[in-house]
Amino acid sequence: MSSLGLYNYWIVIALMMVGLYAVIARGHLVKKLIGLTLFQTAVFFLYISMGFVHGGAAPILSEGVAVYSNPLPHVLILTAIVVGVATTALGLALVVRIREAYGSVDEDELERMDSDA
């Protein structure tokens, strides 16, 4: 654990790219949302890795602990997670509506229907 170096960032990037791939390469809209969620989590990791301090403790003040990790990214990400799920729900609601309107949730089919109409 002592020589993380840039390793964390690379993991973040890898996860991010997996999410991005799911978003741009897959047709199913729910799958795209899953990809977005992965991407989102990668961003969370990025922030939390930034806030990490070696030998630090969780930012809850207690006796005899001198070094804490940075609380600011924690706050930002904490709210971002909840907001993230709310927006995901919005996206899913859209998917449900699209399904009801078009009878499909596949991007290609949707495009075809739109161009036909």
């Binding site: 993380l4 170096g5 840039l6 964390n8 960032y9 690379w10 993991i11 890898a14 991010m16 790219m17 997996v18 999410g19 791939y21 799911a22 390469a25 047709g27 199913h28 809209l29 729910v30 799958k31 949302l33 899953i34 990809g35 992965l38 989590t41 969370f44 990791f45 939390i48 890795s49 806030g51 990490f52 070696h54 403790a57 969780a58 930012p59 809850i60 003040l61 207690s62 804490y68 990790s69 940075n70 609380p71 600011l72 924690h74 930002l76 904490l78 709210t79 909840v82 907001v83 799920v85 927006t87 995901t88 899913l92 609601a93 859209l94 449900v96 509506r97 399904r99 949730v105 596949d106």
Partner: protein, 313 residues
């Protein structure tokens, strides 16, 4: 280390993907623990593994489980992704190493938060004090966003509920079995109690309004899953949720206005109590209460809406 396993998460059919997303969420929460972000791990576990999985499942019921095999060429997105990834990796070489205490991130406002908040606000959990007090505006905004998202979902799929009584599928509980029922009956109060503990203990340990809201909601979601949405609606009617969600935002904003009226700045809690620290305590308590109200009712409302929508099909 752990994370390498996560790569596999994505390459599956949709139901499996959703389940694995739940496991992935737990795992990432574990990573947050390792990186000393206890509060974040708390939230991620409550939200990612619980509510988000459930919403995804509902959406899957509504939209079909299997993905068709891709027809478009797959190499182009792959190429784009690899190129972007390579560019980003190249970018990381300018970043300071993770975890060094001298990084620029740790020089700006964080030391002040860590050193002063004990005296200024008087609660041990720095995350809570930053969340509710120093960056109160942000949190107000986030709460409003959650509320707005709930509103949006309601507008999108909430209407048309009176049209025809289709045979409810997920909404009824045809054969939830006895043991599950009994244990759930026993567990739900425990979960609610735990949510309240998290709510009011959030100043001392990990926890706070967001997490407590999600936990409270998930207790009722268990009820919804086991006993069916109709019964849950009888306990917590949807109209009540529609009142509670904006009430939380109002409580938050109203706390700010109260500070304003008592001669401070907006969202400045000092004037609320006799001593500044006491005012901070009261302010944070109220604000967190508002957050918990909004979050829990919005989450539950989301589940109601999705369940109703799914049942109507």
């Amino acid at each position: 280390m752990l994370v390498t396993a996560l790569f596999v998460v994505r390459t599956r059919d949709l139901l499996a993907a959703t389940m694995l997303l739940g496991a992935y969420s737990l795992l990432s929460a574990g990573m947050f623990m390792v990186l000393d972000a206890v509060d974040v791990a708390f939230t991620e576990a409550a939200v990612g593994a619980g509510v988000s999985t459930i919403l995804m499942l509902y959406a899957l019921v509504a939209s079909g489980r299997f993905e068709r095999t891709p027809t478009r060429p797959q190499w182009l997105p792959l190429l784009v992704v690899l190129a972007t990834g390579a560019a980003l990796v190249w970018g990381t070489f300018d970043l300071p190493p993770v975890g060094a205490p001298g990084n620029p991130v740790h020089q700006h406002v964080a030391p002040r938060y860590l050193q002063q908040s004990g005296a200024e606000i008087g609660i041990p959990n720095v995350v809570t004090s930053v969340l509710a007090s120093y960056r109160g505006y942000d949190t107000l905004g986030e709460t409003a966003v959650v509320f707005t998202a709930g509103l949006g979902v309601w507008l999108l799929i909430g209407g048309l509920q009176r049209r025809g009584a289709a045979a409810p599928v997920l909404a009824s509980a045809p054969h939830a079995n006895l043991i599950l029922r009994v244990v759930s009956k026993f567990l739900i109060p425990v979960i609610l109690l735990f949510g309240l503990y998290v709510q009011f203990h959030g100043e001392l340990g990990p926890g706070g309004g967001f997490q407590a809201g999600v936990i409270l909601a998930s207790a009722l979601i268990v009820h919804l899953q086991v006993f069916g949405a109709d019964q849950t609606r009888q306990i917590v009617p949807e109209s009540l949720l529609r009142v509670l969600a904006p009430l939380g935002v109002l409580l938050y904003g109203g706390t700010g206005v109260a500070g304003l009226l008592l001669g401070g700045n907006y969202l400045d809690y000092h004037p609320l109590g006799r001593t500044p620290v006491g005012g901070q305590h009261l302010g944070i308590l109220l604000v967190e209460l508002g957050v918990a109200l909004t979050v829990s009712s919005t989450m539950l409302l989301l589940c109601y809406l999705f369940a109703a929508r799914v049942a109507r099909r």
